[in-house]
């Protein structure tokens, strides 16, 4: 209950701040020096937040689609031998630093949102893939046996039994990816993607702690809200299959 109230308060605070950042200026003034502005006004915070969220959303959808598809393929009898390969690919995606991806992608794709999307997509594959794999392989053998014994085709088993039962675990993976991407997206601003990183970088360049704080704060609150939201979804999905 208190959790829910806290979340509501955080959401209201965030919306109020984004709607009218100027009215929060007194809050950030103590962190400025030499009469520097307390609130970043180069680009509207609201529009930065929306484009930040848009990038993350796109990247998470892409990693989820690819990672879940990959997990499905390598858990079918025909694709089982590709499991080690798929594991390697997704692990490399995770170990390769996003900054390095940006550096490599910019010469090919140019500045802007493109390289950031690629970096986030690669970075987000592993959590979803590993969780989808765990969800698809860790199912009750009796349920599988019953599904087969009643005459469901492999495709029907996948859609009607395996995926619904793996859903809570897959959602956990998506949650991890979403939260990681939300933070990582800030570095996209180094290659001119429109993200909240712009505020943070501006603050770092001009030694204005207020900018760094407000950029970090918005990202942080959104991350917590998304984390909580996904947990609700997972609990709902788990309760539906009797694991609540």
């Amino acid at each position: 209950m208190t959790g829910r109230v806290l979340m509501a308060v955080a959401l209201l605070f965030l919306l109020a701040f984004l709607a009218s950042p100027e009215s929060f200026a007194p809050l950030f003034e103590p962190f400025t020096r030499n009469n520097a502005p307390a609130i970043y006004t180069q680009t509207g915070l609201m529009s930065l937040t929306l484009s930040h969220l848009g990038l993350v959303l796109l990247a998470v959808i892409a990693s989820t689609l690819i990672a879940v598809t990959l997990a499905i393929l390598v858990t079918r009898p025909a694709g089982r031998e590709f499991l080690p390969l798929a594991r390697t690919v997704t692990s490399v995606g995770q170990t390769f630093p996003p900054v390095a991806v940006l550096a490599l992608a910019v010469p090919v794709m140019g500045f802007g949102a493109g390289p950031t999307l690629v970096a986030l997509f690669l970075y987000g594959l592993l959590p979803v893939f590993e969780n989808a794999l765990a969800g698809l392989t860790g199912q009750s053998p009796q349920v599988q046996e019953a599904a087969r014994g009643m005459g469901l085709t492999p495709r029907q088993r996948l859609w009607q039994v395996e995926l619904p039962l793996a859903l809570p675990v897959i959602l956990t993976g998506v949650r991890l990816t979403a939260v990681i991407s939300l933070g990582t997206a800030t570095i996209g601003s180094t290659v001119a993607a429109k993200t909240l990183g712009e505020v943070i970088i501006a603050g770092l360049l001009s030694s204005n702690t207020a900018f760094v704080l407000q950029g970090g704060m918005v990202v942080g609150i959104i991350a917590v809200l998304i984390y909580e939201g996904f947990q609700r979804l997972e609990q709902f999905a788990a309760a539906r299959i009797g694991q609540g």
Binding site: A146, G151, L152, Q243
Partner: protein
């Protein structure tokens, strides 16, 4: 009629099922008994082709099952397993109507069928239809599992240790209910069990398996009185033999003329029940409901295998 002909299954170099042939008449219950690793489950799973036979074939009413697509074959055959295997994300009604929906029944048809089955298994449809499996007791889950296997009115029902996860009291009731329902529907039933007691209670025919081979196949009385090998007699357990034999016959079959004191015993009670009642109440004759008596002497005669052999 189910004809199993020279069925063999080989994994690597070991034969899990070796050249097994047996026939189950329509409407009968065949119990496959054996220790774990005897090949009984593999034999069962070859009937609906969850395991493909290495050699031999299975005919259902004269039709070779190898000629039917496996998933289509399985939709015609009921299948219930230990631990029920209910879909945890689906309601009781959705679970039961799984096969009817695969077969393309209309919504009205499968809804009516769900209610009919829930009533058959003594579960109030309005109360149980929309529950999730985890909201049921173990006994109820097991009943829903069997109801699901019977949903599309299969002529053949396969069961793999369906009562294995139930406690003894519920198990006895579940066996009785299954027997009644099977008689009522006329379904042919093949059931795998490691429990000879269960096989004797349920089976019209018992198949005893060991190390992939079929040792003996016959009616319970034959298995009990003339076990083919020492393995079969071990499985029966010599101590329980006379009681199991008595449990096969109802009191009605050995009623004699006469009068007796005390409480009456129902006509459909087994001789084992009658013997227990005699011993417990210290009587040597019991009145039977609807007239006549059973005597301790006649019970004694029935408990010896020689009496059976002479018949």
């Amino acid at each position: 009629m189910i004809e199993i002909q020279n069925l063999t299954r080989i994994y690597g170099t070991t034969a899990v099922v070796k050249d097994v042939s047996l026939t189950v008449e329509t409407g009968q219950i065949a119990a496959l008994v054996g220790t774990s690793g005897s090949g009984k489950t593999t034999l069962l799973r070859m009937i609906n082709r969850l395991v493909e036979p290495s050699a031999g074939r299975v005919l259902i009413d004269g039709k070779d099952t190898a000629e039917i697509e496996p998933h289509l074959l399985r939709r015609q055959i009921g299948y219930a397993i230990q631990g029920h295997g209910l879909f945890p994300h689906r309601t009781v009604a959705q679970n039961i109507s799984t096969v009817p929906r695969l077969l393309g029944w209309t919504q009205d048809q499968h809804r009516a069928r769900v209610d009919e089955l829930l009533e058959l298994f003594q579960m109030e449809p309005a109360d149980f239809r929309d529950r999730m499996p985890h909201e049921l007791s173990g006994g109820q889950q097991q009943r829903v599992g069997v109801a699901r296997a019977l949903a599309a009115r299969p002529d053949l029902l396969l069961m793999d240790e369906p009562f294995g996860a139930l406690d003894p009291v519920i198990r006895a009731k579940a066996q009785q209910d299954l027997r009644d329902i099977q008689r009522q529907l006329g379904t042919t039933l093949i059931i795998v069990t490691h429990d000879m007691e269960e096989a004797v209670t349920l089976g019209d025919r018992i198949a005893v398996m060991d190390k992939g081979e079929l040792l003996q196949y016959g009616p319970p009385s034959e298995i009990l009185t003339t076990p083919a090998t020492s393995f079969v007699s071990d499985l029966i357990g010599t101590g329980d033999r006379p009681f199991r034999l008595l449990s096969l016959t109802p009191v009605a079959e050995i009623i004699a003329e006469g009068q007796a004191e005390g409480a009456e015993i129902p006509r459909e009670a087994s001789l084992r029940d009658a013997l227990a009642e005699c011993l417990w109440s210290g009587r040597d004759r019991l009145p039977v409901e609807g007239g006549g008596i059973v005597t301790l002497d006649s019970l004694r005669a029935q408990a010896a295998p020689t009496a059976r052999a002479a018949e």
